[in-house]
C-alpha cells in the first residue's frame, strides 16, 4: 500500500491518511499494551511516518518485509526511544534541564530566521531536495513557464539562502562552536 510508486502517484496527504487508517490501529494497540496513552501513540506515529517517508523518498529503498511490517518496526523502535527519553526526563524533573533536542540551538535560530525571511525560496528548495519533485512538477506547482525557468529559480534561491546563512552565522558568532 505505501510503496514509492503510490507515493508519486497519490498526493502526500492521501498516503498519510492511508498510513493512519491501515497502520495506526496496530501501532496504537502495541503502544497501549506497552502502557502508553493515545497522545503518546500519536506523537510516536507522527515521527515514524516522517522516517518512513524519508526512507522511501530519499533512496531506492523498498522494504523486504511488507511495508506495514516495516512501518510497525519503526513505530516499535521509536516507542522505545520515546520511553527512554521520558525516563531520563522523569529522573531529572527536579533539575534544570537544557534543551536536548536533536537540533542545535543555533540551527533552530537559523531555521527560524529562514522561515520568516525567505519562505517562498525555502518552500521551493525543500520541494526539490526533500520531497524530490521533478523540475516539471516544480514548474507546475510554483507557476513557472518551463522546467528551465524553475531550474534557474531553484539555483537563485539556493544562492540567496546560502548567502543569508553566511551573513546570519557571522552575526551569531558562536554558530560553529
Amino acid at each position: 500500500m505505501l510503496v514509492i510508486e503510490e507515493l508519486k502517484a497519490d498526493t502526500r496527504e492521501a498516503v498519510i491518511i492511508k498510513c493512519y487508517e491501515e497502520v495506526f490501529p496496530l501501532a496504537a494497540s502495541h503502544i497501549q499494551r506497552m502502557g502508553g496513552s493515545l497522545e503518546e501513540a500519536k506523537e510516536v506515529f507522527q515521527v515514524a511516518i516522517v522516517f518512513y517517508y524519508e526512507k522511501l523518498v530519499h533512496g531506492d529503498f523498498q522494504p523486504e518485509v511488507g511495508d506495514v511490517a516495516y512501518l510497525m518496526g519503526i513505530v516499535k523502535k521509536q516507542w522505545l526511544k520515546y520511553r527512554e527519553k521520558s525516563k531520563v526526563h522523569q529522573n531529572l524533573e527536579n533539575i534544570e534541564i537544557i534543551d536536548v533536542s536533536d537540533e542545535k540551538p543555533l540551527t533552530k535560530k537559523l531555521l527560524h530566521y529562514l522561515k520568516l525571511s525567505g519562505k517562498r525560496c525555502m518552500d521551493l528548495l525543500q520541494s526539490f531536495y526533500y520531497e524530490k519533485l521533478t523540475m516539471r512538477q516544480m514548474a507546475d506547482q510554483y507557476g513557472y513557464t518551463s522546467e528551465r525557468s524553475a531550474t534557474v529559480q531553484k539555483y537563485k534561491c539556493l544562492e540567496k539562502v546560502r548567502d543569508e546563512i553566511k551573513l546570519k552565522s557571522i552575526q551569531y558568532e558562536d554558530f560553529f562552536e
Partner: protein, 89 residues
C-alpha cells in the same frame, strides 16, 4: 546562465556527488587551492542541511493537521471509534 549560478551548480555537483566525475575532481582541486571557494562550499552544504530540516518540519506539521482531521471529522467516525476502543481497555 550567470557565472555565479554556474559556480553554485559546480558546488552542488560536488556535494551531491552528481555530474561528470572528472569535473568533480577539478572542483575538488579548486576547494583545496581557493579558500574563498572552500568557504562557499561549506555554506552551501549547510544550506542543504537546513533545507532538509525545513522540509522535515513542514511534513511533520502536515501530518499533525491530517491527524487532527482524522480525529475530529465525522467522515472518519469509524476510525475514531476503533482507536478509542483500544484505549478503553
Amino acid at each position: 546562465m550567470k557565472t555565479s549560478l554556474n559556480e553554485t551548480i559546480e558546488i552542488e555537483n560536488l556535494l551531491l556527488q552528481q555530474g561528470d566525475t572528472s569535473d568533480r575532481l577539478v572542483t575538488e582541486a579548486k576547494v583545496l587551492s581557493n579558500s574563498e571557494f572552500k568557504e562557499k562550499v561549506q555554506w552551501q552544504s549547510l544550506a542543504y542541511d537546513l533545507v532538509n530540516l525545513y522540509g522535515r518540519d513542514k511534513l511533520l506539521k502536515e501530518i499533525k493537521v491530517i491527524e487532527n482531521r482524522l480525529f475530529s471529522t465525522s467522515k472518519y467516525q469509524s476510525f475514531q471509534n476503533q482507536i478509542y476502543s483500544i484505549f478503553k481497555k
